[in-house]
Every structure is written in C-alpha cells, then in structure tokens.
C-alpha cells in the first residue's frame, strides 16, 4: 500500500480545531483521499474557546474553556505538536520546520495561524505589568499581576478592549478604558449608541476616556504606571492591557512568498486556497475579497469550505455577515449590517429609552422596504428577528419602526419564522439553518431539549433560543402535532399553571382542585404532581388523609419500593458525616431485621429488603437513635455530598462539611418537581464532584462559588457557574431563590439540567432572576422557602407516633399474615430477592 499523503495544519486555535473536526469526518470517505493528519499548536494547550476568555476571571478554568472532546486527536490518529511553533515553509520541497527542530513533509497545508493583538509603539509599552489579552497564558499572567494591583487600564475601547475591561473589573480593580476615537466600539456602533453604552459602563464604575491618544507610559507616582495623553492629561494604573486591534499572523506565508494583501493578510479565493495550489488559509490570518474577518463564525465557515475542497466536495466561501451580539459587563450590545447608514439613500429610525438606557436603531433602504442594518444597546431581544430580516432580504412591515418599538400589548414583534427560507441560518455559533431544525423536528426532536441535543442549536451564545423555539413550534403545528402541554387528560394546564392555581387560590386538597379545575378521577401523573405542589406550597404532612392516596407508592410508604415489593430504608446522614455510635445503630438494625446494606453514591447507607409491615418497627428504632428520614423516596432534596474540607484536608480552603450539613438541614423535606442533589467541595480540586449536581458549591479563597443545573446519570451535564465569591448569607439567599424558582416553573419530573436547557434565555436569564431580581420575585421566593424550612417535620417520626397512619403498613386489611411471595436467598453473605426459578425451587423443597 502506498504511503498516505500528508495534510498539515498550522495553528490549533478555534478555527484550526474546527477544520480538524471537519476533515476528520470527511477523511477517506466517499472515495476521497485519506490523509495522514498532522497539526502544530504553538500554545501549550489545545484549542479553547477564546470568545469566552473573560469568563476565566469569573470562575471558569482552562479545562472549562477547552473545545477538544477528550480523545478526539487520539481517536482520529492526528499527530499534534503541542507547544511547538511552525517557523518555516519550504514550498519547493513542501516541508514545514518548527522551533523544536521537527520537519514534516506536506502534500496539503492549511494555515490557521489566527491573529495577534497589535501593540502600538508607545514609548514605555515594554514596561513590566503591560500585557496583551489573547491567550490563556496571557490571562494567567494578568491574573497573577492582579493579585497585588489596585487599578488597571485598557488601551482600546473596541469589542475586545471592553472584554478585557471586564476581566479587570472581575478582579475588583479600578478600571479605565482609553479609546482613541470619540466613542466606544466605533466600528460597530454610532454616536447615540456609544453614549448609552458609555453611561452604562460608567454606572458600573468603569472610567471611560474617549478621544485620548496615549503618548507615553512612565513610572507612576501612586501606581506602577503613569499614562500620558497627547492632550496633556494623564491617569495612573498598576496594570496596562493593550487591545487596540488585531493583525493577521501572516509572517509564515509572507516569508515563503505567498501572495499577501497590501495591508497584510493571506489572500485566498472562494475555496480558501492561497496563491499556492497546495496551501489554504482560514480564519483571521486570511484575506478574502480585501477583508479580514475578525469573528469566529466566518472562520468556521472557511474551515468547512477548505475541508470540503480537500475532500473533493463542492463548497465556496462567499463572504460572511459581520453582525454581532454580545454581552459586555452585563450590557447587551448588538450590531447588524450597515450600522452607520452609509448606504446611499438609507433612512434611520431610532428609539431611545433614557431612564432604562435602551438604544435601538434600524437602518432601512430608500423606500423603507428592506432592512440594511441595526444597532441595539441595553436590550438586544430584537436581534434574532432583525438579523433574519436583513440576511434573507425579507420585505419590512409598512411601518418599520414597529420592529424596535416596545410591544406594550404583549404581542410578539417581528417576522414570523414562516417567512424565512430553509437556508436561513438560525444559529450562527453552530451554523444551523432553519432547514436543519425542520429536519431534526421531523426526525423526532420535538422538544427544545431534544433539538439542542441533536443539533447543538442555541447551545453556544444562546442568542437564537427564541427563534429556535418558534421554528420548533411552527413545525410541530405544521406536522399536525398538537403542541399539547397539558399535564394529563384530567387537567388542561402545565405543571407551572397548576402550581400558580394552587398557590394563588390557596387550594389545599386534590378533591377541591379537580372539582374546580379538572375532570375525571385523576391519575398517577396528576395526583403525585398535585401532592408535590401542595407540599411545596403548604408543606402539610404528606400522609394526611386527603393526601395519602395521591402519593406515589414510594411517598405513600415513605420508602423506595424494590422489584419484589419490599422497600429500602435510607436515614438522613447530613453531609455524609456520621458518628461511630450511629453507624453501629445502622449495623445493629440491619442485622436484627436481616437487611441488605449498601453504601450509596450520596454518602449514606441504604438498607434493603424491608417488608411493608416491618417499616414502622425499623423506623422506630432509627428515630429513637436520633435518625431522621432521608427522603430517598421523595422528589425532594436527597443529599448534600461533601469532602472533608479545611477541617482535615491540607488543601482545604473552607469548611465544606459544615456548609453541607447546614444546607442539607435547611432544604431537607423540600418537595420539588424532581429529586435535587447538592455537593460542597472545600477547594477547587472538587473532590465532592459539585459540578455534576443540581446545586454545587465550591470554596475559593474569596468565598463560595455557586454552580447550578449539573447532572450525572443518563445525560451528564456540567453545571453552570451562577455566581462567584459569595459569603454564606448571600449563598443561601441565592440558593433559596434558585430552588423556589425551579419549584415554581419546572415541568413535572424535569431535573434542573433539563429545566435549564428549556429555559428561554438560559443562564443569563436565570442570573437576572436570581441575582438581579429582574422579575421582582426574590423576596417572595425567599419568603416561600422560609415557610417550607420553618414547617419541616420528619415524616417518619410523625408516622410512627400516629396509630391511625400505621394501619396502612399492615400487609392485609383482614389478616395478620405476611406476603408469602417475598423470598430471599443469600449472596456474598447478605440477602437478595430470589429469582423466579429459585422461588419455585424453594416452594417445592
């Protein structure tokens, strides 16, 4: 067999990695050439999400930012030279050489070398504590310097400069932004928008200096540096970040004689080929149609085009839309198309809401029939609609200003998704078109969660969530699928609707509920749902006469039913901490009643094989020894797992066990749409695996970091970082609000992870509700939680004290006998349920 041809990629940034993913899928498929794949990665780590770089300062780690699925390079037999810069291309011999002295032949070469931050040659720019903001290595240096600094200045008030300013702000430094032009983000937005943006930034205590040309950096008096401006003014700062713009990393191509643009950039054609027919260039180093595309989405498109071309498939890069939407320090900023109305005859409509600092502008063509551009500050909810109008050249309504005016009557603004062609790109992060979404729906992805899972749409920036939802609903409607969100045939409401009815009308019994709002006799769906809502709202004893029949068998008998009709028993062991005496009691009880014992994943002990009639006796012994029910049977708080924390661990930063116990005791007994698991880790080594829990808490030197909506199990989901560096009081306040908001709004049996996936607006929205109290609900949620916490009772203690309730645990209403069908055999010195054959054998013996 002939030796495989070699495909070498220089650069493992976001675009280089995207190319690798694309080529790995096509390599050797459908008769295409199969290449040996090799890549050079100058940085010390593989591709990571540079767009989210500033989240490194709000708690994300380098691992969190990684874009590389574990095993990707190994599984695809890709040779990676990490931390090694390719430094020369010999085009004649087709050989690449690197800093570490490696030389590799190539048949095809892809340049994905990206860009570098331009540092203006201001005298003093090489002083210590002067940084650029591009790589994780840069961030680590900035972070280290930030520990001793009090203030920082960013030179450059564009998009990247404001991102860098957020990093300074996150380090609690006095933050300055210095911009040469008269306004912030001068490329993307106009004067009016710049003013609103500036006000917002200043409100957050960021000092903005526009129209300033830094002429000299020298030793400061009160801080490390003094920055002198051309107009004679000056400021002082301990750290300086340079972010005035980017330049293509094109030196490799330039040195090898490939055609370059006049002002830099590697010239490419529609197939991303350079002037050398074996060399491609993609991403920020490439110049197409005289333009460098400094955004990731066009880079991704180029990656796909180059991969397709190499694999012999037709595709072409035809330019890309440079519209952007982002959040800068919590402020929505969006720019679409011709934001500055430079098109001939263009007309402008502007909406300004002074008190709320919202600025919206649309630019339309001469006869007001087509959208040319838009700028949105402070509220970018219209972005998705406007972008689609522009990209698909859709006719505008007669009064185009309606597109940006507030909808006071609750109507949804903008275009219907039906107006969009199938080719319309809905999710730009993952390049998902309307057609892709329709296909996914037709193939059975009929929920938002399923759509996200199979297409990845709206899992990037989340900006398209609303549009994806609209496409989904329209498609379901078209397919004749009744989008029925009713809980069941007995109630024409969602769980959330039912929750509101019960809460607002103070409904306390199922009979009352079904009489007023439902039909029939109920079922195994609505009854436990109603019971759970009653418990969340009013927290009555769940086996009260009017509630007992509503409970699932687990709740009804306060145990987990097993496959042979026996139950398991799980006493609460808060935080996983248990005294030797109590541990002995568990052993004694298990021995006395011949129960199978197993340690659970939630750091407690599970006792299996209790017959219905044994439950009260066993629990009496446990309650007498000081145990409480562990609610292992309930859709409620299960466990708060913890590591030993600073009390014992030499790495521990805070008392994780104490916090876990406090939280477990606070939220125990809270009935919710599904089970809830917590964990608390005492340091970032994360031994309690808090980031796989519904609520995860990690100690840092500055306080507690709060993660939410993680999940292990069938569909693992990494938790999202909701808030950082919290003190104990704020931590509990936020968890109160978070849990109660989940209880209030989630669907039946919807874990927090799925709930988050379905939540319109995602993490940002949740932050607004929980932290900024955007719905004005915070106080009410806290009060509701306080009421649940204040009315806690151990259900088993209440039950064993009430002879009437104990009747339910008699196996037969008319006889004092045991169920002869329950048979155990021994295995590994403990009992287990007999299987069918064993049961027969034992019966015949």
């Amino acid at each position: 067999m002939a030796q495989k041809k070699k495909l070498v990629v220089i650069g493992n940034g976001m675009v280089g990695h995207k190319f690798m993913q694309a080529i790995a899928e096509l390599n050797g498929q459908d008769g295409a050439e199969e290449y040996e794949l090799i890549t050079f990665c100058e940085e010390s780590r593989l591709a990571y999400d540079r767009v989210q770089l500033s989240s490194y300062f709000s708690g994300k780690t380098a691992e969190d930012l990684s874009l590389v699925e574990p095993g990707f390079y190994e599984d695809n037999n890709i040779t990676v030279y990490i931390g090694d810069r390719a430094n020369h291309i010999d085009r004649e011999k087709q050989i690449i050489t690197s800093d570490n002295g490696i030389s590799v032949e190539y048949d095809k070469l892809v340049l994905a070398t990206g860009s570098y931050p331009f540092v203006p040659p201001i005298p003093g720019h090489e002083r210590e504590n002067c940084f650029v903001y591009r790589t994780i290595d840069d961030l680590e240096k900035i972070s280290a310097a930030g520990k001793t600094a009090k203030s920082g200045a960013v030179i450059g008030g564009g998009l990247l400069g404001l991102e860098a300013a957020k990093a300074l702000k996150d380090m609690n430094l006095e933050t300055h932004v210095i911009e040469f032009s008269p306004r912030l983000m001068s490329v993307q937005i106009d004067d009016g928008a710049g003013t609103v943006l500036r006000e917002k930034m200043e409100e957050m205590n960021v000092k903005i200096h526009t129209g300033k040309n830094t002429s000299l950096i020298e030793q400061g008096k009160d801080a490390v540096h003094k920055l002198n401006f051309a107009d004679g003014e000056s400021i002082e700062a301990d750290i300086i970040l340079f972010s005035p713009g980017i330049r293509p990393r094109d030196e490799l191509a330039r040195d090898s004689g490939i055609e370059m643009g006049e002002r830099g950039g590697i010239v490419i054609n529609d197939q991303c080929l350079t002037s050398d027919e074996n060399i491609y260039a993609i991403g920020e180093c490439a110049l197409w149609g005289g333009m460098i595309y400094g955004l990731v989405a066009p880079g991704y498109q180029m990656a796909k085009v180059a991969a397709d071309h190499i694999a012999g498939k037709e595709n072409a890069f035809k330019g890309a839309d440079m519209s952007t939407k982002l959040k800068l320090m919590g402020v929505d900023v969006a720019s679409i198309g011709d934001a500055h109305a430079t098109t001939k005859g263009a007309k402008v409509f502007t909406y300004i809401n002074g008190p709320e600092q919202v600025y919206k502008k649309i630019v339309v063509n001469e006869d007001s029939t087509r959208l040319l551009g838009a700028v949105l500050i402070g509220d970018a909810n219209d972005y998705g609609n406007l972008l689609q109008l522009k990209l698909n050249d859709i006719p505008l309504p007669e009064t185009p200003d309606a597109l940006i005016l507030p909808q006071r009557d609750g109507a949804v603004a903008g275009i219907g998704v039906e107006a969009l062609p199938d080719t319309a790109q809905i999710c730009s992060c993952f390049d998902i078109s309307k057609g892709d979404l329709c296909t996914a729906v037709a193939d059975g992805a009929t929920t938002m969660s399923a759509i996200k899972e199979c297409t990845k749409a709206s899992t990037g920036c989340g900006g398209c969530t609303a549009l994806v939802g609209q496409v989904l609903n329209k498609e379901l409607e078209k397919m004749g699928v009744d989008v029925n969100t009713d809980l069941c045939e007995h109630f024409p409401y969602t769980r959330q609707g039912l929750y509101s009815l019960i809460r607002v009308n103070e409904i306390k019994s199922f009979d009352d509920l079904i009489e007023k709002h439902g039909t029939g006799h109920g079922c195994e769906i609505c009854k436990p749902t109603a019971a759970s809502i009653f418990a969340s709202c009013w927290n009555d004893y769940i086996l009260e006469k009017e509630h007992a029949g509503l409970q699932d068998t687990n709740d009804r008998y306060l145990g987990n039913i097993q496959n042979n009709g026996t139950y398991s028993i799980v006493p609460r062991i808060a935080g996983g901490e248990i005294t030797p005496d109590k541990l002995i009691v568990l052993g004694q009880v298990a021995k006395k009643y011949n129960l199978y014992t197993k340690i659970t994943g939630g750091q407690r002990v599970d006792l299996f094989g209790a017959r219905l009639e044994e439950l009260p006796d066993i629990w009496k012994e446990l309650v007498d020894a000081g145990f409480e029910t562990g609610h292992a049977y309930g859709k409620s708080l299960r466990t708060v797992k913890s590591c030993v924390g600073s009390t014992w661990c030499r790495y521990g930063v805070d008392d994780s066990v104490g916090t876990a116990i406090e939280l477990e005791n606070r939220y125990k007994g809270l009935r919710s749409p599904h089970k809830i698991k917590f964990a608390v880790s005492g340091c970032t080594r994360e031994c309690a695996e808090a980031q796989s829990k519904d609520v995860g808490i990690i100690a840092t030197e500055n306080g507690w970091n709060l993660y939410v909506c993680g999940n292990g199990g069938m569909k693992p989901r990494h938790a999202d970082l909701l808030a950082t560096d919290l003190d104990r009081e704020t931590l509990i306040k936020y968890i109160d609000r978070f849990l109660m908001f989940y209880v209030k709004t989630a669907d039946r049996l919807e874990r927090t992870a799925t709930w988050m996936n379905n939540l319109e607006g995602g993490l940002d929205y949740l932050r607004e509700v929980v932290i900024d109290d955007s719905l004005g609900l915070a106080e009410q949620l806290e009060k509701e939680m306080e009421s649940v916490v204040g009315t806690y009772q151990c259900e088993w203690k209440t039950t064993i004290e009430d002879p009437d309730k104990l009747k339910a645990f008699k196996p037969f209403v008319n006889a004092n006998a045991a169920d002869s069908n329950i048979v155990f055999v021994e295995e590994r010195e403990q009992i287990r349920p007999a299987n069918e054959d064993e049961r027969k054998q034992l019966a015949n013996a």
Partner: protein
C-alpha cells in the same frame, strides 16, 4: 355484579367500608389468594381485583394510584405503571394480560368479596 353465577358464590366478610381509605387501595387475604380492594369517588364505589402484578411478579397492585382513563376507572401498578381496569382486571396497555376481578357486596357497611367455590 348481579350475575347468574351469584348462587355458586361464597361471600367473605373482609373489612368495614371505611377501612379502605377513600380513592385508595388495601390488600386482603382470602385463603391463599391476595386481593386488592379499592374505594372510588364520593360514593365510595368498591372494586376488587387480584393483587399480583403480572409484570413485576410482586403482590403490589393495592399500592398503586387509582384514577381514570376517560370513563374507565383504573389502577396504575406502582412498579412499572401499567394500568388495570378495576371493573374487569383487564390490562390497558396489553390486551393479552389481565388479572382476576372479584364480585363485591356491601352489606351494613361491611365489604364482602364473592369467590366462586
């Protein structure tokens, strides 16, 4: 329940009517037969079917949640949630599966189950 077979039936006194919690079930033992009894609605209509769940091979149907599908009164098995019609013992999800159903008589607030001899 007024059938011709009634003459051949033996009626067993099981419990008081209010021993069965409203809209809920209890198990009873007659000879070696386990029977699930349910009381439905305000008028406390009583049904009896076998307690043995053929899907899980466990005696658990009395511990299921009762409710309705359309006009049919059913219980859902607490183990794998299949529904059984209380009036007939027929499984809703699988027409080849059913459990025994029993005649009921209420006399002076006592519940009687009729078993064919």
């Amino acid at each position: 329940m007024q059938t011709a077979q009634q003459q051949d039936m033996t009626w067993h006194d099981i419990c008081a009517l209010n021993d069965i919690p409203k809209n809920s079930g209890v198990a009873a033992l007659v000879g070696d037969q386990q029977i699930a009894l349910f009381s439905i609605g305000k008028e406390a209509q009583v049904f009896a079917i076998g307690n043995y769940d053929p899907f899980s091979n466990a005696n658990v149907l009395a511990r299921g949640i009762v409710g309705s599908i359309g006009d049919t009164i059913v219980v859902a098995s607490p183990i794998y949630k299949q529904h059984f019609e209380l009036a007939t013992g027929q499984c809703v999800e699988d027409e080849t599966v059913s459990v025994e159903s029993y005649a009921i008589r209420i006399d002076n607030n006592r519940v009687f189950i009729g078993l064919t001899a």
